[in-house]
């Protein structure tokens, strides 16, 4: 299973890290992949650190454990950087994507010398501009797709439009703003090092 991509999400309860991992699984599924999307259920409460996972592969996935050596890590909330070892096991030829406005020196210091690629995105800015509210999960979904290259920008946008239409069938007014959030986020994600 050399084509297997493993992703770990760090967020806080209520920010939608679990939802984002499920949306990513959905999007990858729609491009024909085998997928897993699952949260690590703990004593989950609003604001408590949570972890969610994705496996994406061209061949069936049989392994059923958490992910300890991810190819990519997504950090939805930068206040976790000092309390959670977010780069634990992260492959050095992989990358970490962080929702933050903090500078490169700070990030390098809290990431304990992680040698792989570091990407950032200001998901708050994107979300406020597109949605008028702070929902970081949609921008972070676009960011990890961009960084990992799991699918093309066009494939993501085409696919997510369908997903949003289904998901927000009763709130059609939020479909266009969410699409805008994806488009902005695809441009906003930046490589730090």
């Amino acid at each position: 299973m050399s084509n297997l991509i493993e992703i770990r999400w760090h967020g806080r309860g209520g920010q939608g890290a679990k939802t984002a991992s499920l949306l990513l699984a959905d999007a990858a599924f729609n491009t024909g992949k085998y997928i897993q999307g699952f949260p690590e259920y703990g004593p989950e409460r609003m604001g408590a650190p949570i972890t969610a996972y994705n496996r994406i592969s061209d061949t069936p996935i049989t392994i059923h454990s958490n992910i300890y050596e991810p190819d990519y890590v997504v950090v939805v909330d930068d206040t976790l950087l000092e309390s959670v070892d977010v780069t634990a096991g992260l492959k050095e030829d992989g990358a970490i994507v962080i929702n933050t406005t903090k500078n490169a020196d700070y990030l390098k210091s809290v990431l304990k010398g992680y040698k792989g690629n570091i990407y950032t995105i200001d998901a708050r800015k994107v979300s406020m501009e597109a949605l008028g509210k702070y929902f970081p999960n949609t921008p972070m979904l676009a960011a990890i797709v961009k960084v990992s290259g799991i699918m093309s920008d066009e494939a993501l946008l085409a696919d997510m439009e369908g997903s949003f239409k289904h998901k927000f069938a009763k709130k059609p007014e939020v479909i266009a703003p969410n699409m805008k959030a994806l488009e902005l986020a695809l441009k906003e994600v930046k490589k730090v090092n």
Binding site: Y34, G37, F38, Y41
Partner: protein, 396 residues
């Protein structure tokens, strides 16, 4: 044509129930199976099934309602986990002794206490001698497929026993994965109509169900239950064969994964079997002849077949996701080793109790078991056969 989908294990179970469209579902919510009655009640509300949904006030009542409706002649289903099953315990035995083919989706979780909502198999192991047919499922696909086969097995005239389909709480119940679904009309045709021979609401044949049964005949009735459980083995194989013919997915009493030429083998159930397959593949790439025997049918236990399938290996490890707290080993270990003994198979065998209360079972843990088995195969000795896997070491 199968339909390519992605669903969680709970969604897969609820989808199977929707397609089966039973006469009655009675259930009480409990983590991690809550979503099954939740999704199902939505199907009831929007008219995609015509099931009578009984929202009871406890699991004891859920199983009691299932017994009442199945005895009346209605095809009946339920879902539960852990302490929910514990609260059903009295009625679990009554369902099987009244020979009522109720079908349950059991989403496995640790039985308290202390309180834990995560996966192990202590709930299922607590009812392993209660006279229910028990099928275990590696993933969402198997949870779905086992439910599609469940009624045909349970309702068969040679069986007439209740049946539970197990899957791992959270690990598969809450994980979104690929699945092949079948079309509604094909499922309906495969499952067929429930036509009980005797039932309470048959006015042409007034009968009593569950009266007093003392020294005169209870023994004989229990022997009949035992006979029905023995019969279930062939019925499961027949139904599985028809399932394969209809939908193309093959099932037996257990799955042998690269076991033919294996020198060392693990026996386990549910999601850990998937992780073990991943490890077997990695070890095979390194030239280590590892294999897996995944139990699908735990009750009736296919003792003779399991013993035969393991007879050529040099060392076996049986993985129990429940500790029997009996000082000799877990339930699956007892079943496997006693089957080997009575069938004259003498292979060094060890037991690992693992994954208790949701402790994550990693590929490196499974690798360490195979590494232990290589040593045992070399020495021919299985010392300290009752072991733990993934237990925290004492920290200094």
């Amino acid at each position: 044509m199968s339909i390519r989908e992605r669903l969680s294990g709970n969604e897969a179970a609820a989808t199977a129930m929707k397609q089966i469209n039973p006469d009655v579902v009675a259930a009480f919510p409990i983590t991690p199976s809550t979503e099954i009655p939740q999704y199902f009640s939505t199907f009831v509300a929007n008219g995609s099934v015509d099931t009578e949904f009984v929202a009871v006030e406890s699991e004891h009542s859920a199983m009691s309602a299932c017994i009442g409706s199945q005895a009346a002649g209605a095809r009946t289903m339920t879902a539960t986990s852990a302490n929910g099953l514990s609260l059903m315990w009295e009625m679990i035995y009554i369902a099987s002794s009244l020979r009522l083919p109720i079908v349950m989706s059991l989403v496995n979780r640790a039985v308290s206490g202390p309180l834990n909502i995560h996966n192990d198999h202590s709930d299922a192991m607590g009812v392993r001698d209660a006279g229910w047919v028990m099928l275990f499922s590696e993933n969402n696909q198997e949870a779905y497929d086992n439910l599609l086969m469940a009624h045909r097995i349970a309702e068969h005239k040679d069986v007439q026993l209740p049946l539970m389909v197990c899957q791992d709480g959270f690990i598969t119940s809450h994980s979104i994965e690929n699945i092949e679904l079948e079309e509604d009309d094909k499922v309906k045709a495969f499952v067929g109509k429930y036509q009980p021979e005797h039932y309470l609401l048959n006015k042409k044949e007034p009968i009593a169900i569950g009266p007093l049964d003392l020294q005169g005949y209870l023994f004989e009735h229990k022997a009949q239950q035992a006979e029905a459980m023995k019969n279930a083995k062939n019925v499961i194989l027949e139904v599985s064969k028809d399932f394969e013919k209809t939908f193309g997915r093959k099932y037996g009493l257990f799955e042998e994964y690269k076991l033919d030429d294996a020198e060392i083998a693990i026996v386990c159930m549910n999601s850990t079997a998937g992780t073990t397959k991943f490890v077997v593949d990695e070890l095979r790439n390194k030239g280590i002849t590892a294999g897996l025997l995944k139990i699908r049918v735990y009750r009736p236990f296919p003792g003779e077949e399991v013993a035969k399938a393991l007879s050529h290996v040099k060392a076996v490890a049986v993985l129990d996701k429940s500790d029997s707290l009996n000082a000799i080993g877990g339930a699956l270990f007892s079943d496997v080793t006693s089957s080997m003994f009575v069938n004259g198979v003498n292979v060094p065998t060890v037991n690992y109790v693992y994954g208790i209360g949701g402790r994550d079972t990693t590929s490196s843990q499974i690798e360490s078991v195979y590494s232990d088995l290589q040593e045992i195969a070399k020495s021919g000795k299985a010392e300290n056969p009752y072991r733990y896997l993934g237990l925290r070491k004492e920290e200094n």
